[in-house]
Each structure stands twice: as structure tokens, then as C-alpha cells.
């Protein structure tokens, strides 16, 4: 971990525990996404499927150090692992993908567009960059009310999204307000098909931090331990009032942009490079090598994950779709401000 900031105020992390914990969600995420991708290929999903293959360590390492009910977590499209770690039930992912009326989005939105804002998980809109200021606003509100205590907000984003004005405005605003915001940039080398060389010209995205007057940390996104430690630092700093933190993880998207995309534009060399390491395989090896879990433990975990995922998919598939006729077609909460315009 190349830590460009000078000092850490982090409470020491219990690495074995955090590692085991994160690993579990990584396995669950990978299992779910492999499954949902196969359901997609079988033609049973309407719309797209977006997976976080290769990004599970970076995603889980952040969320596993957050507390549901206290912290805020704004995942993006490749954060199945983080979502699970933050307490999103797998069944909700299955329901949202499969269009069950029981999903948190009730069929109104799909796939990775899910969340439960009241539980600290804003539901992403597609427009990249737009969620960071929302997390900022949540923190801002808590502080205004004196309810912030030492909670933090974490927002996930990709390398490509750093080109949006939205990310800039949100980071700058958070820095001015010194909000306890951790922004996790998963630099997976591509924005859809576009390589980072067509997205920014700085040597390292972490160099953005100084321009906001915030702290920045680089981590090896393929290495769960490094991710855990980097986020631990960032989170402790944020919790202790040091303002926004930028954490950049270097890794490679080990999948297409969506399951419709074969990612032919990712070169063999890049796949074979150290960026292309599969964080899950690396973590599994480390688990066993460090004796934080046995081969057997891993297998049990993997089998349990398969079972959980299969059950969730089965259950969600069997659930009813939303019914257009009985559906509540009102975009406004306030009844008195509903238009009298007759329905089509």
C-alpha cells in the first residue's frame, strides 16, 4: 500500500477477522454473479447484468468495515460484494434482477439499481458521479442534527466516472465541509471499452486528492489484505474528523462491461499482468496459507454460498411480477399535489 498521506490515525485492524469476514462476502458475491450471469445467458433476465468480478476484494474490504444502521454506503454497479457485506440480503439482488414485486425497487427499477436509503444505502441512479453528493448530503444532515457521532459515508465509483463534473463538485464540496466521506475509486482500467488513457492524463488518480485538500491512499485492489488496511486507514481518519478520504484501488475488470460484452478490447498482456490477478483466488490462497481458514472451510463457505444463491434465485423466480393494473402510479408522495389528468 503506497500511502501518500503522512500519518495514519487508524485503530489497528484485526486482519484475520476482517479478512475472513470479507472473504465470505466475496465468495457470496462471486457465486451470485456467476449464477445471475448464467441466468442472463439463458435469456431469463430482461435488461443488463453487471458484475464485479475481480473487484470483490476492494468492494468487500470497504463495506466490511462499515456498520449498518450507523454508516452510509453507496455502492455502484460492481459492488455486489460490498452490498452483501453491508447487509443487503441476496434475495433482494435476486428479486431486483428477476423483477419480483417484492424487491426493494418493486420492479420499478432493476438489476444494480437497488438500495434502501432509509437504511443508509442510497439507490444509485445511472448518471455516473451523481451519488457522491447525495452521500455528502446525508452526512451533512446528520451533522446538522448532531447525530453524526463518528459515523462515515462511503461512496463507490469507477475510474471513468472521475471524469464527470459531478464527482468533482461532490468531492470539493465534501472537502469544504470536511465531511466524513470515503470515496472508493475502483480503477479497473476501463470505462466500458475506454482505457484510462482516454479518461485522464494524470499519473495516478490518487493525485486528485491534493487538489481537494483531502487525503488519498492507493491500494492493490487484487490484494484483500491491502484493501482492508487501506480502507481501515481511510475510515479511521474520516471517523476522527479528518475529512474526506480518497481510496484508489488498482485492479482489472475480469468481465465485460456487462454480460453482453465480451471485453475483447482488454489485451492478453493486461489480463496476464499483475492487475489481472483474481482477487478471490489470491485471497483464498492467503487464507489457507495464513491458516485463517482451511481448504475445507473455504469449500464449506462456497457450498453454502451456492445454496444461498440457488435458493434466492429460485424464490425470486417464483414470486409475482408487479401488476400494472393494481400498481400505484403516482410519482408524488403528496396526494393533494397529484395531477387530475386522466390516465391513458
Amino acid at each position: 500500500m503506497a500511502d501518500i498521506a503522512t500519518q495514519s490515525t487508524g485503530a489497528e485492524i484485526d486482519l484475520p477477522e476482517a479478512f475472513q469476514n470479507a472473504f465470505r462476502w466475496m465468495v457470496l458475491a462471486r457465486t451470485f454473479e456467476d449464477k445471475i450471469a448464467s441466468v442472463y445467458r439463458a435469456g431469463k433476465i430482461v435488461g443488463g447484468v453487471y458484475v464485479g468480478r475481480g473487484q470483490e476484494a476492494f468492494s468487500a474490504a470497504l463495506a466490511v468495515q462499515l456498520n449498518r444502521g450507523k454508516d452510509i454506503y453507496a455502492p455502484l454497479i460492481r459492488d455486489m460484494a460490498g452490498r452483501a457485506a453491508f447487509g443487503e440480503p441476496v434475495i433482494d439482488a435476486a428479486r431486483t434482477y428477476l423483477g419480483s414485486a417484492k424487491g426493494s425497487m418493486r420492479g420499478r427499477d432493476g438489476n444494480i439499481h437497488r438500495g434502501s436509503p432509509r437504511e443508509g444505502v442510497p439507490a444509485m441512479i445511472s448518471h455516473l458521479g451523481a451519488m457522491i453528493s447525495v452521500v455528502g448530503g446525508m452526512l451533512f444532515a446528520r451533522r446538522l442534527r448532531g447525530e453524526l457521532e463518528n459515523s462515515v459515508g462511503a461512496a463507490c465509483i469507477g475510474d471513468g466516472a472521475t471524469s464527470t463534473g459531478s464527482v468533482h463538485e461532490a468531492l470539493n464540496l465534501a472537502a469544504i465541509e470536511k465531511l466524513p466521506l470515503v470515496v472508493a475509486i475502483a480503477n479497473n482500467q476501463f470505462a466500458y471499452s475506454t482505457p484510462t488513457s482516454r479518461q485522464f492524463a494524470c499519473k495516478d488518480l490518487v493525485d486528485r486528492a491534493i487538489g481537494y485538500g483531502i487525503e488519498g491512499i492507493n491500494v492493490d485492489g487484487t490484494d484483500l489484505a491491502d484493501c482492508l488496511q487501506g480502507f481501515n486507514k481511510a475510515l479511521s481518519r474520516a471517523r476522527s474528523g479528518k475529512g474526506p478520504q480518497l481510496v484508489v484501488g488498482k485492479l482489472l475488470r475480469l468481465a465485460g462491461h456487462g454480460e453482453h460484452d465480451d471485453a475483447h478490447y482488454i489485451s492478453k498482456q493486461m489480463r496476464a499482468s499483475s492487475l489481472g490477478k483474481d482477487c478471490l483466488a489470491v485471497a483464498r490462497k492467503r487464507m489457507i496459507a495464513e491458516n485463517w481458514g482451511s481448504e475445507e472451510d473455504c469449500k464449506v463457505l462456497e457450498e453454502k454460498a451456492i445454496e444461498e444463491v440457488e435458493n434466492a434465485i429460485l424464490q425470486a423466480s417464483g414470486e409475482e411480477s408487479p401488476d400494472a393494473y393494481t400498481h400505484d402510479w403516482n410519482a408524488c408522495f403528496s396526494e393533494r399535489f397529484r395531477d387530475t389528468q386522466s390516465d391513458p
Binding site: S116, I125, V134, G136, E169, A331, F333
Partner: protein, 321 residues
Amino acid sequence: MSITYLEAIRQAQAKALADNPNVFIYGQDIGAFGGAFKATKGLFEKYPDRVIDAPISEDAMIGLAVGAAIEGMRPIIEMQFADFSTVGFNQIVNQAATHYWRTNVPCPITVRLPSGGTPGSGPFHSQCMEAIYAHYPGIIVMTPATVEDAYSMLLEAIYTDDPVIFCEHKYLYYHLKADSLPKQSLPAESARITRSGRHATVITYSAMIHEALLAADSLHDDGYEIEIVDLRCVKPLDIDTVLGSVARTGRALVVGEAFPWGGVTAEVISRIASEGFHLLDAPPAKLNARDTPIPYHPDLWRYHRPTASSIKSAIQKLLKD
């Protein structure tokens, strides 16, 4: 005591801040400076935590408001000019407007847009954006035309559990005065018969109400009684009040200061034509600004937007039809 439209807006905010600790105001230069138009003058001194200067970041300002609203706050965002809300457009129409429908969690934000033309303000400090926001589901758009409405509707906006775009007209800021602030008021969603008449109805809102009133005064001398409906809220539209008036007069002119293609005038006419066709004794007419950017020069500007005199001509034409 005499209270301006601008002072009404200031006082509504003062009251909301006093009554509800969840209310806060966020905008450029609204703190110690009191805002570009002084709509928040003195509020920072009383509520230093809740009257907060924002950076020039309209996108993030709206994003922040949405986040705060999710947490139960009732943010008021002041745009320095309505025209700059284009920069926060995405967050308004895609983040705020869809929030309740998507997540079941209401998003009670109020975005104040100092709107409309004044002489010399030019293409980027004069716009009327009500139609742009009204097009999107999930947004309420208010366009008060009186001092009393500026006050009571802003309070309603703040306490509404949906995003409200509050179009306050800059031309009315100082020009319009009332004796006192209202204790009671017509609900924001209801249109008002501002003036009753029987020969024709002019349906309009915001600053154009006053141009229409002048036109009606002038036609009164010619023996015509013109009814004027103040829409007050352009989304939702209180079409019942509109149709009630058209039923009485048989003639409708819809006036708007915004650009001519689409917008409030088109929506109102289309609703009248669809829902009140048989009430009409003549084709419904509309009058808008010209289809160009808003000119800087006062001589051009006066000819760009509808005025008492162009409204009068349009009514005269309508009366002949």
C-alpha cells in the same frame, strides 16, 4: 407596514427556520451576505448553522439537498438565478424527481428559482424554466404571482414531501407590495380567479398576471369584462378552475412569459381543448415570449415578452373570433 414579494419570501424562510429545526437553506452568497437578491437577509445571523454558503456547484448542491432530505431534513436550495439550475438539472430531474417513486422514500426539497425577465438581464439571467421541470414526473412546480402567495406557497413548498420547484419572479421582487402577510391562504394546488369577468378568460401565472390585469383594466374601459385565472401551481394544474372559468366566458387566452414551443401555455390549451372543447365559443389562443433567447436591451426585451399591450391585442383578437 408594506411588504414586498421579496420580503415575503424572506419571511417565509425565517418562519420555516424558526418553526422547524429540519429546515436549512443552502445557496451561493446566502449566508452573511444575505443572497444576491437579499432573500435571506438576516437569516444567517439568527441561524448560522442552517443558512449556509455553497460553492458554485449546482449539481452537488442539489445532490446534497437530496441526501439531506433522505435523512429527514427539509432543505431549501437557492439558485442564484433560475438559469443556473441547468447545471443542477440532472440531479433535479433524475435524482430528486424519481426518488420517491423508485425507493418509496420521499424527497422534500425546495429549489428556489429566481426567475423571469427584468430589463437588462439578458439571455442568462431572465429565464422561466417552469415548463422544463413540470415535464418530469415527481416534481411540483409553483409560480406565485402575489406577495401573499409568495409567502404562503413557499411555506407549503417547504412542508411538502416532494421536490418543489419554486419559481419566484424577479420582476415582482420589489415591484409588488402588500399590506401584510396572510394568516390563511388558498391551498397551493388551487388556481385562483384573480379577477372575474364574462367576456373572456385569461389564464396565466407569475409576473404575467399583472400584465394581464393591466390589459383587463384597459379593456374594461371598452366595456369588456375579462376574467383572469392565476394558475399559481403549474404542475399539477388545477384544470377544474380553468374549465369553470372558460365555461362562463367561452373564450380562453393563455399567457406565459416562457418560450413559445410547448410549456405551460401549450399544456393548458391542450387540456382546455381536450376536456372543455364544448365550452369554447372561439379557438383558444396563446401568447408567449418570442422564440429567441431573451434579449439584453430593454427595447428588445419589452418586445420579446408579452406585455399588457400585447395581451390586450390578443384578447381583442380573441373577442372578435
